[in-house]
């Protein structure tokens, strides 16, 4: 994500539709053929991450290649993706992303 986009989204604002998101290491892990909502920014383990409203937090963290977390089942069973969102313990796979979320 461009630094300017990240800072404008830090307070929970939506990034402009079509805002460019630079990919670390080449291709995106988001597959083609999906019409996504414009991206928002969340903070995960101290780093700005782009996510699209509607996505599960677990999918957004996988797409952003966040290494601090494990998700095994993506359906609410394994409890491996437990993270704190704004201080509260949740399963990332059952939690939709929201602008300004802080994941620790």
């Amino acid at each position: 994500m461009r630094a300017a986009d990240a800072s404008s989204a830090r307070n929970g604002e939506r990034l402009a539709a079509g805002a460019s998101i630079a990919m670390v290491g080449g291709m995106s892990l988001r597959s083609t053929g999906f019409t996504r909502n414009p991206p928002i920014a969340i903070t995960a383990f101290g780093r700005e991450v782009a996510a699209h409203p509607g996505e599960s937090l677990a999918a957004a963290l996988v797409a952003a290649e966040v290494r601090e977390f494990v998700a095994v089942c993506h359906m609410g069973v394994c409890q491996q993706c437990l993270v704190r969102v704004d201080g509260r313990l949740v399963q990332a796979c059952l939690t939709p992303v929201a602008a300004g979320m802080v994941v620790t």
């Binding site: 892990l29 597959s31 999906f34 996505e55 977390f69 095994v72 394994c78 059952l94």
Partner: protein
């Protein structure tokens, strides 16, 4: 408010059961954990994405449910079960407690689906290792690839579904590792003769995989995931292949926590995925008023699930004194035949369990290794409940869902008895981990009723 019929789980079986029950005039409520009904195969995508047959089937079930008049509660994390046989005084209504909702009903239909069986191997706890069913959710509902260079491994049709979806989504599958032989597949595919649509879908996956020149290893298994803090390679028998994700699954297991909690009779049937509630032809469990439908009552696939949901709903309607149209068990039997062939490909493979090294964690929540399980077996643990007491295996946040299959197979093998003889962990509330503050709510200590002390 008292409902006539409550349905637990909003997959294809639950959606069809609720639709049928509401159409039959019953006050019906459906509780679903995720944010929309659909289940795993027919999960509602969060974005407009590529059209496919599963999506259309899911939309049709969702539309029928919406028109039926059944109340649908989504985002319902059901943690508590009460009433029914758990109350001493005869036949009480079933009480289902979810975060933010409590439902009472005279009849309860369980349509809780399955979770994935993953037989442990060294490195299976590394980030980047995920289930095959998990991968289908990521790929189809979320449109996210699990990695850039992905190994797809395990057994059953999901292997090829996941590999094809990764390729279609622009990712790279570096290897498919299939525990089954081509001969086993040939025999299983013969069982799909009545379902040319399913066969055609499988052939389309296969064509995509062939076109992408993905190496397929048959009768092979992943023996190790390698990496520091994150997977970076996979060992396949003797060979090492670089990969940043491993999608692996060894079949599906019916989710029977709820029928266990109500103390229904269960039977161990590997051709149905393992432990399943004992059912009559119309999906009644051994507990009056409690029914079970869909893959949670035995693996027969998403196509068969709506028929079993309808059967359960009609039985419930009849038992409540309503007279629905005659049931059609033949429709379920026809749809279940194709599912049975695939369930066979997903049955537990004892050789994979036997290959687990002694120091590999089987229960990843509590860090219980194979060696610890076998030590407990030698020290006298003869059942899954005793194994919990000896080792804490299955007592972590996943409540034994991830480790139960491998642990019971290890325990049974060490004790020299069939898997059925070691039983299963007793079902108990809470069905899901929930924090105390969310279930207690607000109350004043003064409001707690204190019974009068017994006379001395």
């Amino acid at each position: 408010m008292m409902h006539d019929i409550a349905i637990l789980g909003g997959g294809p079986a639950g959606m069809a059961a609720a639709t049928e029950a509401a159409r039959g005039g019953a006050r019906t409520v459906l509780l679903e954990e995720s944010l929309a009904p659909g289940g795993q195969v027919y999960r509602k995508p969060v974005f407009d994405g590529p059209d496919d047959a599963n999506r259309r089937a899911g939309d049709a079930l969702r539309a029928a449910l919406a028109e039926s008049g059944a109340e649908v509660i989504t985002g319902a994390r059901v943690w508590g079960l009460g009433g029914g046989p758990l109350v001493a005084q005869g036949h009480a209504p079933f009480v289902v407690s979810a975060l933010g909702a409590e439902v009472s009903a005279r009849a309860l239909i369980l349509a809780t689906g399955t979770h994935e069986r993953i037989i442990p191997f060294p490195g299976w706890t590394l980030p980047g290792v995920l289930g095959l069913a998990a991968a289908t959710i990521l790929l189809k509902a979320q449109g996210v690839l699990p990695g850039r260079r992905v190994v797809v491994a395990g057994q059953g049709p999901l292997l090829y579904a996941v590999a094809a979806k990764i390729i279609a989504g622009g990712g790279t599958v570096v290897a498919i590792v299939d525990a089954a032989s081509t001969g086993e597949w040939a025999r299983a595919l013969a069982g799909l003769a009545a379902r040319p649509d399913v066969l055609a879908r499988g052939l389309a996956w296969r064509a995509r995989i062939l076109a992408a020149r993905v190496p397929v290893f048959s009768r092979a298994s992943v023996t190790e995931a390698l990496g520091e803090g994150r997977i970076n390679a996979v060992r396949i028998d003797g060979r090492i292949i670089e990969a940043d994700a491993l999608c692996i699954g060894h079949g599906l297991v019916p989710a029977t926590e709820a029928s266990r909690t109500y103390r229904a009779a269960h039977v161990h049937d590997p051709t149905l995925g393992g432990w399943v509630p004992v059912l009559d032809a119309e999906r009644r469990t051994s507990v009056p008023g409690l029914y079970s439908a869909g893959d949670g009552s035995g693996l027969r696939g998403a196509a068969a699930a709506p028929f079993s949901g309808q059967l359960a709903a009609r039985a419930a309607l009849r038992d409540l004194g309503r007279v629905p149209a005659g049931p059609d068990p033949a429709a379920f039997a026809r749809a279940a035949r194709a599912g049975a062939a695939m369930a066979g490909m997903m049955a537990l493979r004892p050789a994979l369990v036997a290959a687990i090294p002694p120091d590999t964690e089987v229960c990843r929540c509590e860090g219980v290794t194979r060696a610890a399980i076998e030590d407990a077996a030698d020290a006298g643990a003869g059942t899954m409940n005793q194994l919990k007491h000896f080792t804490r295996c299955g007592m972590g946040p996943c409540q034994g869902r991830m480790c139960g299959e491998a642990a019971s197979a290890l325990l049974a093998a060490r004790r020299g008895v069939p898997v059925a003889a070691v039983g299963f962990a007793t079902g108990r509330t809470p069905l899901r981990p929930v924090s105390m503050d969310t279930i207690i709510g607000d109350f004043a200590y003064a409001d707690i009723p204190v019974p009068a002390p017994a006379p001395l």
